[in-house]
Symmetry: C2
Subunit: 421 residues, 2 copies
């Protein structure tokens, strides 16, 4: 298990089963703290655990939120008692009509649009908030271009914390409104996302009570994505799917779903059956897919150009670990064009009644491509992760859909439209 | 109980505990069918039941959706086995920060934005679809200006049914897109909502396989709102709240929440403690509030003029029954201005991190007004129903919120903004 603990210090914090931060590169461990980079080698730090005895019954008796998995997360035992957004336990939908359209036998869609601000970011932010509270922070912050901004502003409002959310000033008005409504300090920065990100890192170093969820408390934040893996397994009746397709932005989510599946097997909560993890990218920002297909270990950064903006990270921090996961499990990384993304959104909507954001279109279209190329086994069960809501990316579909006709208010006119089909 | 059954015929349909349709005015009963008006007096028909022995344990062992209450709904026992959107079991949020802002002791928010298409309409449409399947329909239809259109188009897509959704051609582009994406027959009608509604009634009479959810299968559809009441009671730990505030459009939802509370008490699933039901309207469409405040029994229709479009029904069909419910329980109906609606949306967002549509703003602002006037007891527990999502009514808030500032990408500029407060 990646989570072996060497550091034997007693932590000053109650972060449940979390015992240390461990460098993913050199393995150096430090006590739990608000650190994200290894002092020895600058590698990324990850939470290391000492899990207690956890049973399915314990989990099933827990709340209908990610806190049912609190024994597997870096959060205090009483986490559910503190105000938070309490996301998770979103629907796992048996997608028979999409399965038929894609030519596979058994398909499930994990629909994370049901979260409080309608994306999986509520999961990671909720864990970050819970950990940040223990670590002594009092302001929740992030640089973001969309879903993360929503999630941070909402969680801070719910908790009664101040928030500082930095966005590029060019962001679309709708995305600004959905964050501004929570009334934190939403600050528009003249610059691109890289400029905003650099500013966040600088501010995190200056303000010791500011928890930038994806910067100085990133090791805790990232663990929130494990809950997607836990829920899929529990909702399947405590077993692992054979194949899962996960969208890749920084790559963190994919590696954490993989980690969740391994942990469940190691803890005996599921049978450790083989599974394959597939990564999905938009061709306009496909550095991990490119590296995978060319057999490289190094990710060459790109300048993103895709409608799938929530996946548009040109230099994905966890890209190398994505390659590790997909190669170890026998999966793959593939990418799809923006036209395929739109068709993926529409296919999911018309077959299953689920309206996904562009990242969901990437997942569906990539699954289709992997099925067609034979990389996904059509006879083995597959799960698709739909991580955000189409209501937030209406611009991506607006030129492609609309009413079938505009008619006078008569029954004859309706019949005529339907006769045309 | 309102649901006493006189008709002793054996139904041709498996609609669970439903046994007949009963006129709310004259009590005349007919066998279960796709009828909505009494042949004797033209009064509205309502489902009458013969409930079996239902325990808390039965319900708790059911799915995490409204189908856990299938024994209390006009749907077949195997309803969960057929493709549907499976809404419900949305969060009941303990709203301590909103409670403090409003000056009440104990407050809960039922957050129905977590449903599949992000409004309570998924509940009524899911029940309508399940009943329509039993009644032999094969097309799902509605006239709508928003949330209902989304819910019908999505549910039909999921079920593999054709859908016919009629909207006024003047509808905002965003609302058109969120329905069009599901690829049913979305038809824009040159006319206002009344024209569209008349057209729907005409089409329902002509097409025997079209289930217009809110017309010819309305008695079944309306029962879906009971699940809001069931969930509130179960999520409170199987007890009734003392006070509940419900938005009023047609008035159906409020009467069904009241019905749900009564049924739970009569079935012994909760202690039949007293509760008070309050109705919330926008002043620009407040026919029920006007009738309540003037002590009338008759609702005088109005021409709606409010930003709360999902509540803009000028001639609410269930208005008189709303008056019955609030008067019987010792509640009230109140209305608030559009400015108060916007402030209600913002208050809920900044205190609890929940972004509601305009109808939610109406509920919060009305609760505030009822608390200030002493009609809601600040010492008794209160539940607010938030029935739709702010992402769908961004236009209502867009002139009121935005970034705190636009700055160059420097830490000094951020500090300056925050110093201004």
């Amino acid at each position: 298990m990646t989570s072996t603990v060497d550091v034997q210090q007693t932590s000053a914090y109650d972060l449940g089963p979390a015992r240390a931060l461990s460098c993913r590169e050199c393995g150096h461990q430090i006590p739990l703290a608000a650190e994200f980079a290894c002092a020895e080698c600058f590698g990324p730090l990850e939470v290391a655990y000492e899990f207690g005895n956890i049973t399915r019954a314990d989990i099933e008796a827990g709340p209908q939120s990610i806190w049912r998995y609190r024994g597997l997360l870096p959060v205090p035992t009483d986490v559910a008692a503190h105000p938070n957004t309490d996301p998770g336990m979103t629907r796992l939908v048996k997608a028979d009509r999409l399965a038929a359209a894609l030519g596979v036998k058994s398909l499930w869609v994990k629909d994370d649009t049901g979260n409080p601000t309608h994306s999986f970011k509520d999961r990671v932010v909720a864990v970050a908030l819970a950990a940040a509270r223990q670590l002594g922070f009092s302001v929740l912050a992030c640089p973001s271009t969309g879903n993360l901004a929503n999630a941070v502003a909402a969680a801070a409002a719910r908790a009664g914390w101040d928030s500082v959310v930095l966005i590029p000033s060019s962001l679309e008005r709708a995305k600004i409104l959905t964050t501004a409504v929570y009334d934190g300090a939403l600050i528009a920065v003249d610059g691109n996302y890289d400029d905003v990100n650099r500013l966040a890192t600088e501010l995190a170093a200056e303000h010791e009570n500011w928890a930038f969820v994806n910067v100085n408390v990133r090791p805790y934040y990232a663990e929130g994505s494990k809950t997607l893996g836990y829920e899929v397994a529990e909702q399947l009746g405590w077993r692992l799917p054979r194949q899962i397709v996960v969208p890749v932005a920084s790559g963190s989510q994919l590696t954490k779903v993989d980690k969740a599946f391994r942990e469940l097997g190691e803890l005996g909560l599921v049978e450790a059956t083989p599974y394959r993890v597939f990564g999905a990218q938009a061709t306009g920002c496909s550095p991990v897919s490119t590296a995978f297909k060319s057999g490289h270990d190094v990710i060459r950064p790109v300048k993103p150009d895709t409608i799938a903006r929530s996946l548009a990270i040109g230099a994905p921090a966890d890209g190398p670990y994505v390659l590790d996961s997909v190669r170890r499990t026998g999966g793959a990384v593939e990418d799809v064009t923006d036209a395929e993304v739109v068709e993926g959104i529409r296919l999911l909507a018309r077959t299953e009644g689920i309206f996904a954001e562009t990242a969901g279109g990437v997942t569906v279209a990539t699954a289709k491509k992997l099925i067609e190329s034979g990389q996904i086994d059509p006879d083995a069960e597959t799960v698709l992760l739909i991580t955000g809501d189409g209501l937030k990316t209406l611009d991506a579909v607006q030129d492609h859909i609309g009413p079938r006709a505009t008619i006078p208010p008569t029954a004859a006119a309706v019949r005529e439209v339907l006769a045309r089909g």
